[in-house]
Symmetry: C2
Subunit: 194 residues, 2 copies
Amino acid sequence: MRYPLVKLRLPDWIEEFLSDPDRDYPTEEDRMRLVIELSWLNVEHGTGGPFGAGIFDLSTNRLLSPGVNLVTTANLSTAHAEMVAIMVAQQIVGHFDLGGSGRPPYELVASTEPCAQCFGATPWSGIRRLVCGARDEDARSIGFDEGPKMPDWPAALEERGISVVRDVCREEAAAVLQHYAASGGMIYNARQGD
Amino acid sequence: MRYPLVKLRLPDWIEEFLSDPDRDYPTEEDRMRLVIELSWLNVEHGTGGPFGAGIFDLSTNRLLSPGVNLVTTANLSTAHAEMVAIMVAQQIVGHFDLGGSGRPPYELVASTEPCAQCFGATPWSGIRRLVCGARDEDARSIGFDEGPKMPDWPAALEERGISVVRDVCREEAAAVLQHYAASGGMIYNARQGD
């Protein structure tokens, strides 16, 4: 085959870390702490940037799919934690619309507010609720570019029936970003060339 | 493995259609006509929505990677033509930044202007130039949702050093959208559920 297959594979440590499929995460803070831990472990294992995400089934409070940033390890600028969680979730349910008829409400939890790409991908995913930890200015403060986002992006999602909750465990989430920067983590915005 | 591998594979017909790797596409119109043909063939083969894209190397005018919409066949809401072309290109060059040091200038050609997701993904990809065929209102006129885009999205890309050219072969590109709608093609926006 002339053109390569594009493969996105979660790091091996995730399977071990998430070894109990029956564990539930009853509160927003429980769910956020899990994705913050994913962001931390992603840095510790050197498998990508300091961002974690997860899709949760709000009818059971269980995790459907985890996501971590895989930009530098998968060589894909699109492989942000939210995108990875969305794509893995859609493969699990076998459909491109997590909001389709007969499905439980799904929530996307992101350790940092979505960049312009992940914001734009959110309405297509079918999720009903978005919960964010660190603010995009927390990401920008360590040099990450969040892209061209409209000023009132939460309102644009709310208008489409997607609830947005911000600042859940913000300080804990931002601490992972600070740790990443302080330990010399790669700030991998594109266009490093001239 | 508990979590599935996410795989994005170009349809088999693309390999046959693009059988000459040395063919060059000297003008914008040449490059646009190729991606419009991809959008048309994607509908004819039933491999996805009526959208095509390609990444071209502007130092040789050759195609680096094609992309077609694979949302319904890959079960991935993210698998828009532009995203597929970007991801395949990054796998070919082996890097997440098509704009990295020492690389030729790459151009993304899209048969329809990018939706909110693909707009947000564009700065991360490393491309230097975006060429569009049909306008987003042409897509909306057949029922596709382009998402929450800032009104002057081309200016936001230009500010980041990405040139934007619009309306190249717009009528030919829009005709494929009209044909898709007239033949009963699926308008697959998310949140078809309640």
